[in-house]
């Protein structure tokens, strides 16, 4: 029988631990597919965070390094500086990358660190059971904002990719999502570009991906996809926020 679909060899056979309806699995698969398609798997070193993505060390078929909470990008910096010939990517959630690790994210962009950061934004701390994060929407109920995020007391969601795109050393910044096949294809395209930017040595590349967390959002998977589209997407600047010009790529 002709094989019409096979699992990418960028992923191991370890089953994902993610909750039903969580889109982390899609994001991992896209990342692994691009690593294989761009022939990067053998040179790739991934850095895993603390949080829901923390177990991805076992999912990616390449070498993986687990970092302390908020420090994935610092660890990735150390790996890349030690092995400039390697392809280095970090994975982080919104708590990891936008709260405790904000300084690391911005500083890597400032340095134009030649790594790729994949930032998975589901507007909540998932692993610890659904607490408010810097990207939680105003009014969104979480276990630490039980009356809804209060704008006066805790501010408004941080648009991290938009912030990163303001930094000169950031060569490529995209804000994408995975709620439909069309968006999934666009996300894969963004990852491909980000990886190419790193390979070309053009600077820091940052891909923010809006993702669902039906469990802590208290929704069905279908409701979660709809909420991502109708509530989250309007709140964050979407699309390619920064990309090198053709001339810059040539140089």
């Amino acid at each position: 029988m002709k094989a019409v679909f096979t699992k990418t060899k960028g992923l191991t056979d370890t089953p994902f631990h993610y909750c039903p309806g969580c889109t982390h699995g899609v994001i991992h698969r896209l990342t692994a597919e691009v690593l294989v398609e761009m022939d990067l798997l053998e040179r790739a070193i991934g850095v895993a965070p603390v949080g829901c993505t923390g177990f991805c060390e076992n999912y990616f078929a390449c070498d993986m390094v687990g970092a302390a909470h908020g420090r994935a990008i610092a660890v990735a910096t150390g790996v890349k500086r030690a092995r400039p010939g390697s392809f280095v990517f970090s994975l982080q959630g919104d708590g990891d990358g936008a709260a405790i690790g904000l300084a690391e994210t911005i500083s890597a962009a400032v340095r134009g660190e030649k790594i790729t950061s994949i930032f998975v934004n589901n507007a909540i701390y998932g692993m610890t059971g659904g607490q408010m994060s810097p990207t939680t929407l105003v009014g969104q109920k979480t276990s630490t904002s039980p009356y809804g995020r209060d704008r006066d007391a805790t501010g408004q969601p941080l648009d991290l990719p938009l912030l990163v795109s303001q930094v000169e050393g950031a060569a490529y910044v995209a804000s994408v999502s995975v709620e439909s096949p069309k968006e999934i294809i666009a996300t894969k395209k963004a990852l491909r570009k980000a990886f190419a930017i790193q390979e070309a040595g053009l600077g820091y590349s940052f891909v923010s991906i809006l993702s669902t967390c039906p469990t802590t959002w208290g929704m069905t998977p279908v409701e979660a996809l709809a909420w991502l589209k109708t509530a989250m997407k309007p709140r964050f600047r979407m699309g390619e926020l920064k990309a090198p010009t053709a001339k810059e790529v040539e140089q």
Partner: protein, 354 residues
């Protein structure tokens, strides 16, 4: 190579001689000559120097570089060392070789730049979370800083463990003539555990989480075994006039040098006194102290703190003789005469009784 150099610069040069090609740091007095030296020299040897955004980032960058299998160092001073504790705990758990320099400044709080040894507890008891120990080496001269820096990299690689060089600000700033012997690389096993890509070896995961208590305990037992091995094999100390001594100072680093002068003063008065100088603060040289247990009638721990190492001295001599403490704090150092006076006041007729 022979030079007149500050302690901090000698450590940086020794690291380069030992093959360290990656340095991550954040400026903090009185350790800043180390990143400054690295910033100047790392380029000339084809390495990578990076000024991190914080000590928190610096230690985690060092974690990453070590995970990738390269020799790496960071340097800081007490408040920055406090910030690095979480990272050091992770480095221990991931079994990564990282060399860390703590050029101590006095605290608590912002404190000041004077000589101090008040980081002793944080250095030796596992300053971060969990059961762990870095190896801690305390040089007392610039020459010894070079020797111990060479050794620190070998020990870190051999045990896959963080190794800390601990010195006082005054020692880091002090200039002394120093020679750099040729660094001879020890034969160490290849770093097959490192994350270098799966091109020529199976996939590796470097990390430290466990999802089951059973696995967690197995990891802890593995580390405990390593800790015991280091405790048994790596105790280092130096002795001065201990062979016929009836009383002894215990002092490390700059206090060791001051106490040595005090030994001379008291010897001139006919008091049979010696100096036991721990070089490894962890593992604490209990075997060396134990050997003198039946010989010494009184110990005086001389420290630049409110009394930290004295607790380890008391544990080591097991009540065989009184253990007294003398310390100056807040950046002050005692004169040898003051140490001698204190000794005589604490041990009334100071050994003359024989």
């Amino acid at each position: 190579m022979k030079a007149l150099m500050k302690g901090n610069e000698a450590i940086a040069e020794a690291a380069l001689q030992a093959g360290c090609r990656l340095f991550f740091g954040y400026p903090i007095t009185p350790s800043t000559e180390i990143p400054e030296y690295m910033a100047r020299k790392m380029k000339t040897v084809g390495g990578s120097y990076l000024q991190a955004e914080s000590e928190v980032a610096a230690i985690n960058m060092a974690y990453g570089a070590a995970a990738a299998g390269e020799r790496v160092m960071t340097a800081t001073s007490s408040p920055g060392f406090s910030l690095m504790q979480e990272g050091i705990s992770y480095i221990f758990a991931a079994e990564l070789p990282v060399v860390i320099v703590d050029v101590m400044r006095h605290g608590p709080g912002l404190g000041g730049l004077g000589a101090t040894q008040a980081d002793y507890f944080q250095l030796t008891k596992g300053g971060g979370h969990g059961d762990y120990h870095p190896l801690v080496l305390a040089p007392s001269t610039v020459t010894e800083m070079v020797e111990l820096t060479y050794e620190a990299f070998d020990l870190a690689d051999y045990y896959r463990n963080p190794v800390i060089l601990a010195l006082e600000g005054i020692s880091g700033q002090m200039m002394e003539p120093v020679e750099f012997p040729l660094y001879e690389a020890k034969k160490l096993p290849p770093k097959t555990w490192a994350a270098t890509g799966i091109g020529h070896k199976p996939k590796v995961n470097i990390g430290s989480y466990t999802l089951s208590n059973e696995v967690g305990e197995a990891h802890n037992l593995h580390w405990e075994k390593k800790i015991e091995q280091i405790r048994a094999s790596e105790q280092r100390f130096d002795e001065y006039l201990m062979e016929d001594a009836e009383y002894a100072f215990v002092a490390f680093g700059i206090s060791g040098r001051i106490a040595e002068s005090a030994v001379d003063l008291l010897r001139a008065e006919g008091i049979r006194l010696g100096l036991f100088r721990p070089i490894s603060l962890w593992p604490f040289p209990v075997a060396g102290l134990d050997k003198r247990r039946n010989q010494i009638k009184g110990w005086l721990s001389v420290e630049l703190s409110a009394g930290q190492m004295v607790e380890d001295v008391r544990l080591a001599v097991k009540g065989s003789a009184p253990v007294q403490f003398f310390g100056r704090q807040g950046g002050m150092t005692p004169e040898p005469e003051e140490v001698a006076r204190v000794f005589k006041s604490l041990f009334a007729d100071g050994g003359k009784r024989g």
